[in-house]
Every structure is written in C-alpha cells, then in structure tokens.
Symmetry: C2
Subunit: 405 residues, 2 copies
Amino acid sequence: MFSGGADGNGHLTRPRRPRRGGVGGGGGGVMVFPQGKVDSGAQPHPAAPPCTDYDMAYFKAYSHLGVHEEMLKDHVRTSTYRNAVMHHQDLISGKVVLDVGCGTGVLSIFCANAGATRVYAVDASDIAIQAMEIVRENELSDKVVVLHARIEDVIIEEKVDVIISEWMGYMLLYESMLGSVIFARDKWLKPGGLILPSHASLYMAPITNSQRYHDSIYFWRDVYGIKMSSMMPLAKQCAFMEPSVETISGENVLTWPTVVALVDCYTIQAQELETITAAFKFTSMLQAPLHGFAFWFDVEFNGPVRQKSKKQASQSLDGDKQNASPSSKKKKQDVSIVLSTAPEDAPTHWQQTLLYLFEPIELNKDQNIEGSVTISQSQQHARFLNICVKYFTGDQWYVKESVMR
Amino acid sequence: MFSGGADGNGHLTRPRRPRRGGVGGGGGGVMVFPQGKVDSGAQPHPAAPPCTDYDMAYFKAYSHLGVHEEMLKDHVRTSTYRNAVMHHQDLISGKVVLDVGCGTGVLSIFCANAGATRVYAVDASDIAIQAMEIVRENELSDKVVVLHARIEDVIIEEKVDVIISEWMGYMLLYESMLGSVIFARDKWLKPGGLILPSHASLYMAPITNSQRYHDSIYFWRDVYGIKMSSMMPLAKQCAFMEPSVETISGENVLTWPTVVALVDCYTIQAQELETITAAFKFTSMLQAPLHGFAFWFDVEFNGPVRQKSKKQASQSLDGDKQNASPSSKKKKQDVSIVLSTAPEDAPTHWQQTLLYLFEPIELNKDQNIEGSVTISQSQQHARFLNICVKYFTGDQWYVKESVMR
C-alpha cells in the first residue's frame, strides 16, 4: 500500500503552496502553547483525541514555522537582504523603516542593527506574535514596533524613509505581496525615500530536460518487464499540466532569456500587475528537444537616486521587450546588489518555475521560437496565476496554457 | 515572501499522506482525458477558468499517479514482491490468485507471468481503470480480471489458491489494508492456500539523532546573528509533535530493537489490530542523547506449510514480547524472502517512523529504558493511529503521545 507523499523525483508531490498569511493574509487568534507539557510528566494519561482546536492551532503554527524556517535557511535570500541593508546603511541609519510582511522580523532587526531609529514591522499572520518575542529577546523593543495586522488596516502616525519587504513569490508574481508594498509606498513613503528591493525582473527561456521527461514519462514504457505505455497520456497530464517548481541548471537553458517584466518598485501601479504580456523571439543555441519554458527572476537593491522615470517604467511592462543582453546582469552586479534566482546561480527556495510541454519538439541549432507570453491574475481565484504561452516554431503554432494554483 | 513547501531538511513539509482509495477507498466515476489536446493546437484560446470538474478529476488522478509511480519506483518493494512470486511459482502456476488492492496491477501480472490460470485484481480506486488498460496492453485480459470495486462489495464466484497484497502502511499499520486482506482470506482463500506476504513484524528501538535536533531546534538560537531562542518551544512542537517519516541509518539506533507486533496473515483476526500493546526493556549500547524512538517493519513471504499455529499467533500479539534476537532476521533470510524497512537495510518509500522527544535525555552506556508502547486505531478517525509510549529511565517516568494523521 502506498504510504508516502514524495515521488522518486520530488516532482509530483510538492505540497500545495500555503499562503503565508502575510500582510494580505487572515490574521486570527493568539496561540497559547503549553510548553514542554506534552511528552513528559509522571502521570500517564489516555491517548489524546484527534483534531481538537488546539491541534488546529498547532497545524497553523506548523505550516507557518516551516515556512519561515525555509526562508531563513535560504542563505542566498537572507544574506543578500542583509548585504543590501548594510550597503544602504547611510540611508537607513537615523531613519524610520517600514517592513511590509515582516515574518520573524529578521529584516526589521537588520535595519535596527544598521541604525534605524524606528522600524514598523507589520504582519497579519500569527508569526507576528513570535516576531514580538524575538524583538524583545534582542532588546530592540524600543526601536522595532511589531504590528500584528494587515498593512491595509494598520495605523502608523508618521511617514517613513525606507520600505523593506521580501514580497517575491514563485516566478516573481505568484501570491506575491507586491500590491501591499505599493499600498504602503503610496501611503507612507516620504518623497525620495528608499525601497528595498527597488527593481525586479522576470525572465523566461526555452529549456531542454530529457532526464526529467524520461523519468516521468518514458518510465512507464517498461516497468519490471511490464508494458505500461497506456499510462503515458495520464502521466503527461500529471507531470506537466501544472507549472512545476524545481531546480534546473544553466545547461538546461537553450537560449538567452527574454525579459517578461521589469518592475520599478518606486513607480509601478497595482493595475499594471493584473496582466503582463511580453513578446519573445528565441534562437536555439543547440540542436536539442524543446521540453518547455523556464521562468525566474532577480531583484535589485538600488537607492532612490537610481530610480527610473515613470515613462521608462511603463515602457517596461508594455509587452514590447527585447531579449535580455547576455551581459545585462553582469553590468547590474557591478553597481548594485542583486538577488538572483537564475538557473546558473546558487539555488534558492524559489528554484525555477517550469512549464513543460506534453510532447517535446525537436529543435535545430539556430531554429527560431517566436511568440508571446501572458501572465494574469485569475478573475475567479485571486491567488491563482494564469499563464499562456503562444509560440511558433518549425512552421507550426502551439499554445501552452497553465494555471498556477 | 514564502513560496515553497519543502524545508531545508525535508522534514516539516511532507504532504498529508493521501488515502490511496484502495480496496477500502471511495471508488468514484471514470475519468476521461482529452489526450494531448491541452498544450498543442493551431487555435489560441483564452486562459482556462480554474478548478472545473475536469480539474478536480485531474487532481484526483494526479495524486493517484504520483502514489503509484513512487511505489513502482521503490525497487526494494517491487522487486522483492517479484522475487517472492517467482520463489512460490510452484504454488501459483495453474492456480487462481486474488490481488487485494491491485493498483496498477503489477503484482497480478507477476502472478500471471508465473503461470496463474486466473488472477482477480481488485481495487476501488480509479487506478483500476488504468490497470485494465495495462492488462490489455500486456495481452493478459484472458487471465487477469480487473474489478473496480471495494473488496467487500466484489463478487467472485470461486475460491482462490493464493492471496497477494501490498497492504503495508507507515510503521506497518498506518492506513494499512490488512483488514481487507483478512476479509478476503476468510471469504475466498481455500484451506491451505498461500498468502503473500505471510508474516509481518513491527519493530521499535530508541534512537539518537543530534543532527536532526540541531537543525530543527538549535538552529533558532542564532539566525544571522539574531537571537531567536524564543522560537524554540514552538519549533519543538512543530518538529516533534507528530510522528515523522524519515530515513535514519543504523548508526542512529541505540539498541537492538524490540518486536512490537508479529502478524501471521494466515491466522490474524481483525479485532487484534485495534489495539496493540507491547512491553519493552532496552539497554543502551552507547552513551548518547536519547532523541526518540524509531519504528520499522519487515514482511516475510512464507508458504502455508510454514504457517504458525493459532496459539502461537495469538501469543505474538499479547504484549509480552521479548527483544528480538540480533540474529533473528539473518536466520529468517536463510529460509524465506524478506522485505525489510529497517534502518540498516536499503531505504524504501516507507522509510522509518520516528517519535521524537521534545527534550533529549542523556543516556549512559548500559542504561535501561523500560516501558510499554500502545498503538491503537483512533475511535474518532478510523484512519488515525494513536501511539503512546510510556517509559522509565534514570529514575523518572515519561509519556510520549502522538497521533499519526
């Protein structure tokens, strides 16, 4: 009998991505934990009944804690934020900071340690209760004010010099909190204030991944000498209908990426996020099967002086982007701190987001793949992301549609 | 923002174990898949609305397929069953076989290939539809009869010579289908018929696992220079309140295991499974922190001639077991085929089931740990397993209670 959740590849059984709660999340009651009483004591007592309210609170905490543990253990993520805070210490020291979706409060404490006079740390999730404890433990209660509320409901009696937030979701936009950052910016940020991160770029590239295809699909051709090819249509559906979050390497990527979206956090408007469309034209560098398309992102931590004009920012989301220059990231890294989730960089918990095709397409070297991608928030389910890639290659049009749930 | 499901250790975010459906499961409608139509076609069409009935069917199939893929890819499991079938070919060839919870039908086809005249392959889950296709694909439709129904509802017009089933869950009994095997045995097995597997043993041993404790609990002491010890009580709850399914090694095990349950599939009665209690007395071989208790099992594939008497079998579940002899498994392996999920053997998808203590207990070499373990099906939720370990060591009594959900 089956007893597990993870398949051999770790692909199929990724748990549904939980909502963190975060600034847009649900809030809710305070949990009280009878610390240390559960597995010790001289008095045996009868087996606990399952699924009490206590258990429900526990499960809620359980998912939250695992979430924050994973984010903190993502060293690329957390240490890049720390570096960015130290890099902008002159703009943070002696200033007021707002941390949108503070979680355990780690970014708030970085800012306090960098000399911020006051930090407002806001999170609607129950993790805010833990953040208060952590702030107290680090003797920063006079500087870091933890607010357990939605950013939309919070009352802050002053303008702030800095907004810091770690709002990025899978493929940048999935369940992202960027809307909350925009809300906070428009309500509290002083003119000329600093936003960390300041800019974000979403990339897309065609990929080849024969091993993944083989493991998930061709596996069924011969299972211990038994033919199971009749499973293959279902296997394709199961493995490739949804976007897949997994780590690929630079070797899987067939071309330079295209830029799907450029986000300037100083100027972007919420409605610009509702639908993003970008045209692309890829030229395969290799003769290889095309197995799908990968998405990844980076964010930059630039000061307000380097902010783009409104005109430039709106151009960046108008669907008329050029392929990224191969050297574009290197140039950026010379002048600013970048947190990258690209296949060729150190892995992060965001990994890459893959749209796999049901059938590989054999590409020749220099063969073109032209088309467009549209990413839109689902009308029915706000947290879902509809992704539609239309592409033309080898004299044929294709459409790959996915819903990221 | 958090975007993932798996923590750094893979411990916290194991998805809830799905019910396979299986012979005790829900049955349900036939899925029809528009094969290959989803991601190709000349006509672009608008983004699909989320969560249609089609999607629901897809998700159902998705979980099923991942489950079966993992089981088939567990080479220890599947190849041991194949070896067991071949080992008993003389008792299968020319005979009638019943496969309880057939899944993809792999065990049924092993039996057909071993010469069975007829195999009844029964599964209530929709995977039975795929099993029919697989049987057809292997041109065995004249021998293997797939029945898409609960074993309790199925009509089979003859007695069978062999029952084969892969019914084992985590720590043997979690969501196990042994009750269905017992039902099938009592209804259809000819006197002297063969049951594969024939016997199962559930083991328990104290373990030490400093790395795991460190990664999950002490991690919070210093996070990028920030004190987070206030998270530790919650972290202990989150990491150690539920049984944890993970792979440990023989080096984590502090003593020889005790046998918690011996199951003779030829004689066991369903009511014997409701509550299992076993006393234990361990003597630590090392000076080391006790971090918890591990459970694992093995199953044997013996012929009916080696079956134990009813008296022996009932003795095996009376809670008065001796510690397993260190050489007991080796002896068994000389005379029969054994599928083992022990820490010192090759890993399987069952891994081991761990009950971690909130606080480690420092053990001296030769220190005794005495007590008892009770494993019972939850009255409120039949699929839950209550586990209660009471133990005395270093002049103190402790109780560790867990619910496996």
